[in-house]
């Protein structure tokens, strides 16, 4: 482990949180037993409870300062082409505009304002064949990985072009073929062990997850990944809230990164509003995860959830408008990257405005088209529960057909492809 880091953590010399070393036997002399449960632990005669305040808080990695310049003027600029940076900006902007339009036009959305850099930046650092499992606030991952506006809008209105076959509520995308991302569920953290399993199966995986790490799945998954050397990156978006519950009521201890250490997993904390920091951290995490046959890495991306949890939430009930405003106008991923682009002569106000308008227009156009599309054929009601329809399902299908024929005025079958024949 890096000496600097060790010192900054306040670790004494003999504390070496090495990767778990497995011993097939533990030898012991009469004086020095080596317990299999903690093979590197020296025996001492002073009782010294380790407390969470023994260790300094894990520092947060950043590349840019708030003005959009390199925070450390002595380092190399990020290894990102100008074109790439512009694409990232456009993708983050698209996510932001998608959220707004879905909120306005559809009263839908698990909006992700304030967190666009984490999803776009981390997805950008992953390989095209890497598999991703994520939560429902990760539109940026899909955007960065090739989801089109048509895909997004079709899912929103559950039309026949939705890759998820119109089965899930808005922003719960399915796009494995295009993006390598598993279909999204509403349940929290259940996807974390999936990433571990996929990593175990073969290559590089990445997993996205918000601040919720309180569910049992998180702990089980980290433990599994560590003991089985799975090449998986655990990405945690710590945006400060879980609906109304602030992080102070969600956990004690030093955030999420510190938990990784407890499981023997290398961990890093990053400014999640700084897309270059996000990109570099993910890239490095990927490199490490593939080392020596594979191992898990944990990254905690810090951010602030500017928006309400969803359209059913009024977050002014549990936090002040002033607090939200200061994050919205002061320190957010879009304005930060924009300042960088302007400082480097790659963008200006006019260009920004035009891009915004163009994206908005394109999204609305796709929405209009999607809304006019039919829904999928009615056989989608029963398909895909099993690989083949069960006997019971076949009987129920006929029952539903009979009901729909007996009461034709009660059902709008023509809104589905093929009408009743599509069942």
């Amino acid at each position: 482990m890096d000496e600097e880091l060790r010192k900054s953590w306040g670790l004494r010399d003999w504390c070496a949180p090495e990767r778990c070393i497995r011993w097939s036997t533990t030898s012991s002399t009469i004086d020095i037993p080596r317990f299999p449960g903690a093979v590197n632990s020296p025996l001492v005669t002073t009782m010294n409870f380790r407390t969470s305040s023994d260790l300094a808080p894990i520092p947060t990695y950043r590349v840019m300062n708030s003005e959009g310049y390199l925070n450390d003027p002595n380092r190399q600029p990020p290894d990102v082409s100008n074109d790439q940076a512009l694409i990232w900006y456009k993708n983050m902007l698209t996510v932001n505009i998608l959220d707004t339009i879905m909120f306005e036009a559809q009263r839908q959305g698990r909006v992700s304002a304030g967190e666009e850099a984490v999803t776009v930046g981390s997805a950008a650092a992953l390989g095209p064949d890497d598999v991703i499992t994520c939560q429902y606030r990760e539109t940026g991952v899909f955007q960065q990985r090739g989801f089109t506006l048509k895909d997004f809008m079709s899912q929103l209105v559950a039309s026949r072009n939705d890759p998820g076959k119109g089965r899930n509520i808005p922003v719960h995308y399915s796009g494995k073929q295009k993006t390598g991302v598993h279909a999204v569920a509403s349940t929290l953290e259940t996807q974390i062990p999936h990433a571990v399993g996929a990593a175990y199966a073969f290559k590089m995986e990445a997993k996205e997850n918000p601040t919720e790490t309180s569910e049992g799945d998180f702990h089980g998954a980290l433990n599994m990944a560590a003991t089985q050397d799975c090449p998986v990156i655990f990405i945690c978006r710590n945006n400060g809230f879980a609906i109304s519950t602030p992080t102070s009521e969600q956990y004690c201890g030093d955030g999420i990164a510190s938990r990784g250490i407890g499981y023997g997993i290398d961990a890093l904390r990053v400014d999640g509003t700084d897309i270059f920091a996000v990109y570099e951290a993910t890239k490095e995490a990927r490199r490490r995860a593939l080392q020596d046959g594979g191992r898990p890495i944990l990254i905690e991306f810090m951010s602030y959830r500017v928006s309400h949890h969803s359209t059913s939430d009024d977050s002014f009930a549990y936090r002040s408008k002033g607090e939200i405003e200061s994050w919205k106008t002061g320190h957010n991923p879009l304005s930060l990257l924009l300042r960088w682009l302007e400082n480097n002569g790659l963008c200006n106000e006019t260009m920004e405005k035009e891009t915004r308008l163009a994206i908005r227009k394109a999204v609305l156009a796709e929405l209009t088209v999607a809304e006019s599309e039919q829904k999928l054929a009615l056989r989608a009601v029963f398909d895909d529960v099993y690989a083949e329809l069960s006997e019971e399902q076949l009987a129920q299908k006929e029952e539903l057909r009979r009901i729909m024929m007996t009461f034709p005025d009660e059902y709008d079958v023509e809104s589905h492809e093929g009408g009743l024949a599509g069942l």
Binding site: G166, A242, E410
Partner: protein, 354 residues
């Protein structure tokens, strides 16, 4: 024989339920006399379901210092407003937020109940109860049994959760997992149909039930169901079904939100099938259910089997079940999957014609 010629049905069957006129509510306190346990003495107030639950929780917290109320986001009032103002009145020690961990919530509640507390915990959506399944099935359900002679139990535990479809909840906001809990004895699994039922049943569950309770509040009724509710404290039984509409030719058994679908179908059927008289029973106690009443009055999955065992020769038609299809509640298809008025109406017709 009923006149079942193809009636020119002028009214559509699958209309949205009009809760302001449904006969299942007490729109006026005069009708309290129809329901055992509701008294016309004392004041009553119009409340929706979340208000009546909130009212009941406040009464229990006031009545007994052993009552605790915790779960995700309960401090600011809960996503469905059932816990509004409770932390302000009773303090953080008794009403508090937990981290996101259903397993942790139920496990902790079991421990507290074993020590004599009365933890009333909230699972935000019934769809999210599954991480707690092990604690419910392997711990809470078996607690009294495995304690044996010590008498140790978790009777003070009440788990509240909202099941059921709302039209757009799709896969993870529409489920009805109660049947899973009915196959492992140890809990009382109950579901009120209305605000007045909810208040009385919740007060029973928290203050008087010697057994742990799973309390299912049909989420679509939180705002939609509004009726007169007595302001005083009162209790309703957790082991009795209730005949909410009498009838002589056919019985329908249901509970929760589907009761209203059945009520609408019955109204249409009695209008269209001249002379038909159809009874509607609210199960209320889903498990253990009111066997005496079912055997005496009605026909009805598990219920159907028991009934045919006792009443085989007295049945005029096979027991028919109307339920969700064997699939998941995909967003675009929910309305075809969850039983609607047309399906219940069709089942009524089929049974009467048998």
């Amino acid at each position: 024989m009923f006149s079942l010629q193809a009636m020119a049905r002028r009214t559509k069957l699958n209309e949205p339920i009009d809760f302001s006129t449904t006969p299942l509510f007490h729109h006026n306190k005069k009708t309290f006399t129809k329901t055992l346990g509701l008294s016309t003495d004392g004041r009553s107030k119009r409340m929706n379901l979340f208000q009546s639950v909130n009212n009941a929780l406040g009464i229990t917290l006031r009545t007994s210092n052993e009552v605790l109320c915790f779960g995700e986001d309960v401090a600011f009032g809960g996503v469905f407003r059932c816990t509004m103002n409770l932390q302000a009145e009773f303090g953080k020690d008794r009403v508090f937020n937990t981290p996101l961990t259903e397993q942790g919530i139920i496990g902790t509640a079991i421990g507290a109940a074993a020590k004599g507390m009365k933890p009333v915990v909230e699972i935000r959506f019934a769809d999210y109860v599954f991480p707690a399944f092990d604690q419910i099935v392997n711990e809470a359900s078996k607690f009294r049994y495995r304690e044996g002679a010590t008498g140790g139990n978790v009777g003070g535990l009440v788990i509240r959760m909202p099941p059921g479809g709302v039209g757009h909840g799709a896969l993870y906001h529409s489920q009805s997992p109660e049947s899973l809990f009915c196959h492992v004895p140890g809990f009382k699994v109950v579901s009120p149909r209305s605000p007045s039922q909810a208040k009385g049943m919740l007060l029973s569950a928290i203050l008087h039930s010697p057994d742990p309770v799973i309390f299912l509040e049909p989420k679509i009724l939180y705002r939609a169901a509004i009726e007169q509710v007595p302001e005083a404290s009162y209790t309703l039984p957790l082991d009795k079904a209730e005949v909410v509409k009498s009838g002589t030719d056919l019985t329908i058994i249901s509970y929760g939100r589907p009761l209203y679908t059945c009520s609408a179908a019955i109204e249409a059927a009695e209008r269209d099938f001249n002379g038909a008289s159809i009874e509607l029973i609210d199960l209320q106690a889903i498990y253990p259910w009111d066997r005496k009443r079912m055997v005496n009055f009605g026909v009805g999955a598990e219920i159907a089997a028991t009934i045919q065992d006792a009443l085989f020769l007295q049945l005029n038609a096979p027991v028919k079940r109307v339920a969700g299809w064997t699939t998941h509640t995909g967003l675009a298809y929910q309305k075809y999957i969850i039983p609607d008025v047309a399906r219940v109406y069709d089942a009524i017709q089929g049974s009467l014609e048998y």
